[in-house]
């Protein structure tokens, strides 16, 4: 009986915590535009996450992309060139100009919401 009670308490706490995480715990980001959303979809469809990290998550063969746009040494133009041509390790995906724009738009959105990467993370 005691075991079932402990289980029930943990489970209810989990449900409560989950609902909070789904709402207030994660309400800091701005909302994506539909073009950014499309960029995100392309990011998933080409599985960019297998080589790149956003917020440190993803595969590790390629560089972290969270702040690629605002990074002084990289920036939008550099990202565009990579997307249009590929590089030593990165394949050329033969993306259309619209797809490249959407991806860049998405990366801009991610960058703008990367609060923890800027100043002291506050």
């Amino acid at each position: 009986m005691q075991k079932l009670l402990i289980f029930a308490i943990l489970f209810i706490t989990y449900i409560t915590y989950s609902s909070w995480v789904y709402t207030r715990g994660t309400d800091r980001a701005s909302i994506m535009t539909s073009n950014q959303e499309w960029g995100k979809q392309i990011y998933q469809e080409y599985n960019c996450q297998s080589c790149h990290q956003l917020f440190g998550l993803g595969g590790y063969l390629g560089p972290e992309l969270t702040t690629v746009i605002s990074d002084k040494n990289r920036g939008e133009l550099y990202a565009r060139i990579l997307l249009e041509n590929g590089a030593i390790r990165m394949p050329n995906f033969h993306l259309s100009p619209k797809q490249v724009n959407a991806l860049i738009d998405y990366l801009k959105y991610v960058d703008a919401n990367a609060f923890t990467y800027k100043t002291d993370g506050k």
Partner: protein
């Protein structure tokens, strides 16, 4: 009493081992791509190889865990499996998913998220297969939770939480989650973190059963201590996922909770050191010595990986290690060193029930097993080395290309030791695979008993 033959169990073991072998092949190819950037770059680039590898090796864990559960539940419940038809359907759907996902990856059909890169509709089949498995488990075991040993709790929890987390991992399909990057990533990792906990519950449940079978001591899985650690594990499954997302700007509370809970793992660590010594020096198992040995090695891996996990759960350390190969060391260290070895102990135990105790414990097996463990240690250290090197490179503000050049020697060690890990697993699992192929489907009367 012997564990009797389970045809669904055998099927799952055979699918699991085949899946592992193919998955390892892709892992090895991925390792080679680290060393030679142009290798298969167009035909089978890393964005196909990585999901092929990760999906197939995780499929090994799930299928081997399912196989063990199919074998064990008639034994522990004293009842026949509720429905072989449902089990057959489970196998069939599992095979369809496997073929579908693998061909899809080859053709570059993605659309999902990391670790579940296939298009989301395939998840419906995964859920269906899982429900069939759950029905067979619960109706066969009919667990009365007040009395049952801890491994039944563990299996039940694993079954329930895989279902919950695989559904949770699809929440991104709703705009409320998809349109908000912070929510999206946080929930993705909440689901994946707990999903790892769910398969750990399945694997640890079987390992606890193996320990009981080896020592013949039924009290260990009914003791207060066993349940204390079960609930501690459950608490970690539910609340400890936040260490994946320290850097994601969700609420501070997520980080605090995760950090606090992670530190309870120190208790698990303390217990392992204590019981490791005790089992190693005091127990003298006469039965299933090989399984005992494998579990002992797994315990050493648990120790090593816990030290690493606890370290990277400290936010000040995580700040540096996050996004480096130290995370991969954590992922592969635990899935190979702990999950794979614990599952191997079950596969060996059941196989030896068929061919006779001690029959697999040959000098050949012994040598292969030690070779595997040494290779794995080098492999694991090379990943930790890569991580440390990357931290230094980031600190020195090196460009990505400069950093990759510095990491090159580690890539070579990683790639070569990875091929050795592959060979080690092949050597160790081949006799086990053959045993199941030969005897796993045979009539019960052909038992040596």
């Amino acid at each position: 009493m012997k564990i009797s033959k389970s045809i669904p169990g055998t099927w799952f073991f055979l699918i699991a081992i085949s899946s592992l072998f193919i998955g390892l092949l892709f892992g090895a190819l991925g390792g080679i791509q680290y060393v030679f950037p142009g290798f298969l770059k167009e035909a089978l680039s890393f964005q196909k190889i990585r999901p092929l590898h990760v999906y197939l090796v995780i499929n090994w864990i799930f299928c081997a865990a399912a196989g063990a559960v199919y074998y064990y539940i008639p034994y522990v419940s004293g009842r026949k499996l509720y429905s072989t038809h449902l089990a057959k359907l489970h196998i069939l759907i599992q095979l369809i998913i496997l073929v579908w996902v693998v061909t899809g990856f080859f053709m570059g059909r993605f659309g999902g998220r990391e670790y579940l890169e296939f298009p989301p509709y395939i998840v419906l089949l995964i859920i269906l297969a899982w429900i069939l498995f759950m029905i067979n488990f619960f109706v066969t075991v009919k667990p009365s939770f007040k009395e049952v040993p801890v491994y039944i709790w563990s299996w039940s929890t694993g079954l329930l939480f895989f279902l919950i987390t695989i559904c949770e991992a699809q929440l991104w399909l709703l705009p409320h989650f998809n349109n908000n990057i912070i929510r999206d990533i946080t929930v993705q990792w909440k689901a994946m973190g707990s999903m790892v906990g769910s398969w750990n519950m399945l694997v640890y449940g079987s390992a606890m059963f193996v320990m009981e079978k080896i020592t013949g001591d039924k009290s260990i899985n009914r003791s207060k201590k066993a349940f204390f650690f079960y609930f501690l594990g459950l608490t970690n499954l539910l609340f400890n996922w936040g260490h994946h997302t320290y850097i994601v700007p969700s609420s501070e509370l997520v980080r605090t909770i995760s950090y606090t809970i992670s530190m309870t793992e120190l208790l698990i660590l303390a217990n392992i050191i204590y019981s490791f010594r005790k089992t190693y020096f005091k127990t003298n198992p006469h039965k299933h010595f090989l399984s005992f040995r494998i579990v002992t090695y797994a315990e050493a891996w648990i120790l090593l990986n816990l030290i690493l996990s606890i370290s990277i759960s400290v936010p000040a350390i995580n700040f540096y290690t996050h996004g480096t190969h130290i995370t991969v060391a954590h992922a592969m260290g635990t899935t190979i060193g702990i999950n794979t070895l614990l599952l191997l102990s079950s596969l060996v135990l059941i196989a030896e029930e068929m061919i006779g105790d001690g029959k697999l414990f040959t000098p050949y097996f012994n040598r292969s097993f030690i070779f595997l463990n040494i290779s794995l240690l080098v492999f694991w250290l090379s990943l930790v080395g890569m991580g440390i090197c990357k931290i230094i490179a980031v600190h020195e503000k090196n460009s990505f290309t400069e950093m990759m050049a510095k990491l090159y020697p580690y890539f070579q060690v990683f790639s070569i030791s990875g091929i050795f890990v592959f060979l080690g697993l092949l050597l160790v699992l081949m006799p086990v695979f053959k045993t199941y192929l030969k005897l796993g489907f045979a009539k019960q009367s052909s038992d040596p008993s």
